[in-house]
Every structure is written in structure tokens, then in C-alpha cells.
Symmetry: C2
Subunit: 472 residues, 2 copies
Amino acid sequence: MRNAEEQFIAQALAKLGPRAVVTDPADIAPWVTDWRGRVHGATPAMIAPASTDEVADVVRLAAEHRVPLVPQGGNTGMSAGATPPADGSAVLLSMRRMNRIRSISAENRLAVAEAGVILAPLHDAVHEVGMRFPLTLGARGSCTIGGLTSTNAGGTQVLKFGTMRSLVAGVEAVLPDGSIHTGLSGLKKDNRGYSIDQLLIGAEGTLGVITAVALRLVPAVTARAVAWTGVASPMRALDLLRFLEARTSSIEGFELVPQDSLQLVLKHVPGTRPPLDGTHPWHVLIEATTSDSATRVGGELERLLGTALKQGIIGDAVLASNEAQAEAFWKLRDAISEAERAEGQTLAHDISVAVADMPAFILNASEQVERAFPGVVASGFGHLGDGNIHFHVRAASHAAPNWYEAEGLQITRFVDDLVTAAGGSISAEHGIGQLKRAEFARLAEPGRVQALRAIKNALDPLGIMNPGKLVP
Amino acid sequence: MRNAEEQFIAQALAKLGPRAVVTDPADIAPWVTDWRGRVHGATPAMIAPASTDEVADVVRLAAEHRVPLVPQGGNTGMSAGATPPADGSAVLLSMRRMNRIRSISAENRLAVAEAGVILAPLHDAVHEVGMRFPLTLGARGSCTIGGLTSTNAGGTQVLKFGTMRSLVAGVEAVLPDGSIHTGLSGLKKDNRGYSIDQLLIGAEGTLGVITAVALRLVPAVTARAVAWTGVASPMRALDLLRFLEARTSSIEGFELVPQDSLQLVLKHVPGTRPPLDGTHPWHVLIEATTSDSATRVGGELERLLGTALKQGIIGDAVLASNEAQAEAFWKLRDAISEAERAEGQTLAHDISVAVADMPAFILNASEQVERAFPGVVASGFGHLGDGNIHFHVRAASHAAPNWYEAEGLQITRFVDDLVTAAGGSISAEHGIGQLKRAEFARLAEPGRVQALRAIKNALDPLGIMNPGKLVP
């Protein structure tokens, strides 16, 4: 530990007290390895402020001693954006003690939550007043509002409600100079210059530390209907989406599942069973919801799927007859990654292209990857309605244990090239963090890289906010 | 004209040809005075490129010669953000020749329009394929997509669809270094670093020149219902909004009108008549729409207003019985500014506070202004559902002709102080431009001003993009 770090930690301890400064390696250990266990960092201390003013104190001290900070929420990121560097040169800034829900107003359709509030309890608290925060994802029991905002998280309900960028009504943050940006006043219209809020959303903690967020709420769901359908191709799946969207506004989940992925789930995940009698090359899980007591969402979806069947858009469909069956359908979708891990080594790519281009992209890209890397199995599943799928490549069963290192990087570059050629994004929802930074640097337009660097240097001239992340 | 400007104009002429370079003062004259006729600028030339590449050429030449550019669309801004400085030191960059609609896709719910496309013809073109671009405002026959995006325009349908910030799916722009930012790929999810698109929205041309925009479309309206209601107070008006929002998602216009403003319209605007039999201290114009053929939006609104009447939320209501009456109701709202001008001198303030706080703000602020400046009449009207009203202060009938200069600035400062104390915005939708820059500088938090300046200097280090606008 350098002298500057020692002084910084000692002064933080003096200012914030012992509860806020953790230096025991055993207590720090769970937080210096990323969620997927791939990146191992190190830090001399984890500082956990309990208020916005304390965060500002820490940032000012960090600036004074030139000690970089790595903000962290639930440590559930997919790109190691909250993992400190391995050389121990940065201090972890844990936001988990800032875990107050400051207000919930059904009338204003707003909740203000501190950065360390975990998503699941926020869902519950909001539900108690008859409202809903509609963003959700697998890590809901661990991920925090600050992390979700800093990564512009997506999830399974983006089709109807958008990503965090659409759901954040305002941000409170400590900027790298220690000043507090206060954007929580809940103004629906405010045209006073560049949107600092929008700049901080998705900035992965590189431009400041988000301390609290005003979140837009929607009325609670009064009924949902979940259906499983079999289709001949991803093109037919998109036809089905267009067909439904033209006739109802109730569709909020639309998840594509290839037959191969479904079979892996049925093989490896106990208690799962095929949702349809026959087999189909592709499947779609559909969720329709309503918050309007007058709308019979189940009957509507059943009728629409009946018409889609008659028109030859789909091959078969079944509506979940109760909540247990609805959960069972979702399980088939949510368990794909788990089933793939049980089957063998898998490379994940979180990519997007324009919605209309996605069906052809999935087929072409799969074919090209399988041709270029004999033995692998490529498939795309997930949020077809957002033009965002998880494009996974599974190693051949006889692959060597070092397949990731030997062939993985090559495959990822191959996939990223295909995505870039299609005008798409190599990070649809997982962000850049550390893991995608080299690929981002390789593929981004030079003007864009220059603009990002200029903004970063302008707001964080000392480079103390999450260095080594996101900006190429 | 300095030597640098002469060289810049000569080189632009050589590069872009005579159609693109206007130097005749008579042809330039209409574009150097702002929309409201308050700010008079001057320029040696107006350059009108016809393509993105030509814009990039102009920006690179401007950078080379250090000649500032003032981007302009329809010249309909309310804050003189597109008016060149009076000393003739900047060149006007007219975007009106970039007026192609590049694509419209009902399937993808996207239109791509160049910056110079005027809003009204875009509405028409989109309507032809059964879709709708839902943002609209009074200047729709003149204002351009580039200007609307650069000012994050609002208008009367923000309640349901948001401002431009929510409706823009991507931006193409020339950055101050001459590089082209291409954000038109229509990705619904893309987490590759800071959102340059969001930074350019509302930047008033100070960070680059927007050349084209991807716009989100919604299904065309199949039916609308327009109602006029009388209420006892702004609080009751907000109660009515909450009542309606809890029961239907069809409300997209909700405009507050004080009795005083209605009477001015009836007095000064030919062909107008009172919508209700009795008089009411306050009024609300409501528009409900649907794009769903199954919903009877008129019957629903009538039934809901009937219940609101029974519950004492409103004093009276009438539903427009046909399209002509609907237009007549809107005319009563839209003609308020015109009627005020006919009555005498009026100061306009485009302000916002949190929606829940707006009713009390209107009453308190009006009372305080009228007490502090005896003889004036203060009132708020407009977009109550967005927490955004136009707070107008009318001079006493005996006011001197120099009332604006003598008392106007003092009144504006008084109003802006009240707004700031209430945590609101002194520019809800009109932007900062030139006219509000001093007040913005006086009232903004120092950290915010510093962040804005740092971003401006980072992306436009030569200061060639619309200097003297927006950034304090």
C-alpha cells in the first residue's frame, strides 16, 4: 500500500467512523471478484458511506490523495465494471449502506431510492401502494438501484417500459470534484442545458457516484397471461410480435427460445417438462399484462393466438392455465444459461441489431460461426422484441478444458465483427466494464472514442472515478 | 468582415457551390432576427449544406478558420438560441436544405428525418402509413426536426408521450471536430458508453450540428374526444387529472386555463364563444385519444366526467359533439397568448415545478407577484399534467410603453427566484438560448455550471459551435 492510500484510508476512517471503513481482507473478499467469477481484483479497503454527504467527503478525500475509487452496488454486473484492479491501487466504494427508500408516491408515480437499495425490496415496497416499478431481471435479489442506473440495465420487460434510461426521472450524484448533482426534484420538463442525469445513466461510475435515483412507477398489474408458442423460424416469431403489437398494447414479455436450448433445459433442470406436445424448431414465451380491471388479458391473448394459428404464423400455442404453470413457462426461459453450464463450456454474447434485422442475423450468424469453428453450437435466445438476444456459442463435447482461452477469444471477435457489420451493438445491456473494453476499443468509431475520452477527462481530470472501465 | 471569415466563406463557396452560400443581405435578413422579434443579429453569410458530408465540410472549414457557426432550423425558437450575435462574427448554418425524410417504417415504428424536415409535412407523411409522430406544437408549420431535437421540444402531448428526449431513437450529427456521429441504426438497446445522442438532445447546437434524427412512431389515432370542464381551483384540476389517470390511459392533453385568460380570448379573438353556461374560476381542456378501434373514447370520457361531477371534483363539463367543436375548444386554449398581446404588454415565463406542487405554486406566485408589483395581473396556464405552465404577467392598462425595460426584468427575476425556491426550472421547454442565459447563470448551482462548461470545452475546444448560447 502506498503512502497516499494509507493517508486516504486513515482520513476516511477519521471522518466517517469505523463502521464505514472495512480493511479486514476476509470481509472484503466477497466483493473483489466479479459476479461471474472471472475477474479477481484487490483493494486495501472498502469504504461504505451512509449518506450523500459522506460520499462527497470520500470523493473529495480521494481527489486530494489521488486515490481512485471503484463504486459498487450488488456486485452483480456482467462485465466486471465494479471489480477493482488486481494491483490494489484503488479503493472499493460500497454503496450498500445507502439503502433507504426516501419516498414513494402513488399520486406522483415516483419513488426515490438511494443507490444501495436492492431491487426486490423496492418492488415489494412499491407494490404495497398499488404501484409497480416495471424493470426486473434475474439478479433482482442482489442488484441495487445505483448499479442498475449506472449500467442502464434492461431485463425482460424492456419491450413495454424501456431500459433504466426511460425509467429514471432524476439522479442525485457526487461528481468527481466532490460537488453534489441534485436531479431529484421530479420535474417532468426541464430544459436547462445538457442532461447530466442522462450522462450518468450507463456511465458505469466513471463520471461520478450515483447516490439516489427518482424512479418512474406504473400502476400495478391486475392480471397477467403467459403463453408458450411454437414457430417455424425467428422470422415467424417476429411476424407474431408484429401481429400482436398491431392488435393489443398488453404485450410486455416476448422471449425467443430455440428448440436446442429448450431441450438442454429439459435435460438438465429438474422438474421441467415440454410445454407443447409436438416439437417446433423455435419457441416464443409471451407475457401479456394489464393494470386495467376492464381488460381480460387472458381471453384476449388466447383469441389473438387462435387467429395467429389459423393464419399460419405459429404452429401451436398453449396458455398457462394458472400462476404455477406461468411460472413453469418462465422457468424454461430463465434456466437456459444454467442448463448450458451443465452441458459444458459456453461463451455468452449480449448483442443487439435493429429489431427487423434480428431474425436473419440469428440464422446467418449461427451458420457462419458453426462453419468457422467446427464442432461448436451457436444459438440466439432472449429479447427478440428489443432486437437484443443472448448469442451463445457452446463448445463441442470433446473440447479441451482451456477452450475459452484457446478458441473463445477468436469466436468472440468473430461474433463481434458480424454484429458490427450489421450495424449492431456488442453490448446491448451488459455494458462495457473491463471485459468488453478491448473489443469496444477495437470496433468503435474513432470519433466516438474521442468524444467519450474528452467527456471523461473533462469531468474527471484526475482520473479517480473507476479508472480502467468503459472508456477505451 | 475579418479576413478569416472572408476566407471561410470563399472556401465554403468553392466546396459547396453557390446554392449553398447566401451572402445577399436581403436574403439573409429574415433569419437573423429571432421568432419573437426581440433579438437582432447579423452575419456575413448563411451557409445551407444539402448533405451530412457537406455539413462536415463546413464544420471542418469553420474549425480551420476559427469562425463560429450558428445552426438554425425554422427559426421558431423562443429563447433566441438560433440568432447570430449582433457583431456579425458568426456565420449562420441553415439546415433547411437537408429536408429529406429518409425512411418511414410502420413495422419498425421509426421514421428517419433530416434536420431540416418541417414538422407538419412529417406528420402528414407518417400518417399516410397509418402511424403518428405524437409531438406537436404551435409552430408545426415552420419548426424543423433538427431544431425540435436540439431544444428538446415539448408541446401539448407531452403528458402521454414525453418530450423529444423520449421520442428520439437516434441522432446523426457532425461533432465540432468534423467527425460524424452516427446513431441512426435504430437499436433499442445499446450500452456502449455515454449516450452522445442524449447529450446532443437539448444542447441547442453548442456541441455539434444534428443532421438527421430517428423518431419513434406510435399507431395513428382512430378516435379522439375533447372536453371542456370548469373547476374551482388548480387543486381541483389536479384532482381531476389524478382521477382520470387512475381510470384510463387515454388522456393525452390536459391544459389548465384561468377564467381571466378565457375572458381575454373571448374579448379579443373573433368567433370564440364561452364553452360552458356558467362561469368558473378555472377551466381544463381535456383531450383523450385512442388508436384501438375497440375503445370508445368519447363514451368513456363522458362517463368519467359524469362521475367526477357527482364527486364534486369539477363544477361542469361539456364534451365536444363534433370535430369543429373540438377545434373550437382548442382554439380557446391556443389563442391565449394572442389575446394577451391584444390586451397589452405581457411577460411570459416558461416554468416547471413538480406536478404535485404546481397548483399551490400558481396561486402563491400569482399573489406574491401582484403584491410586489401593484397593478400587474399574473396567471398560469398550460400543461398542468407536466408540471409546466406558462406563467404570464400582464402590465397594468396604464403601464408606460417602456414597461418591459423598466419593470419587466425585475418581475422576471422575482418569478425565477420563486421557481428556484420551489425546486423548479426557469426553462421547462423553451431552452436557455440567449434570452435566459443571464438568469441561468445567476440561479444555477455552481457544480452544474462547471460540469456544463467542462463538457462544452471538451467537445468544442475551439468554441465554434453556437458560442454565447446556453452555457453560462
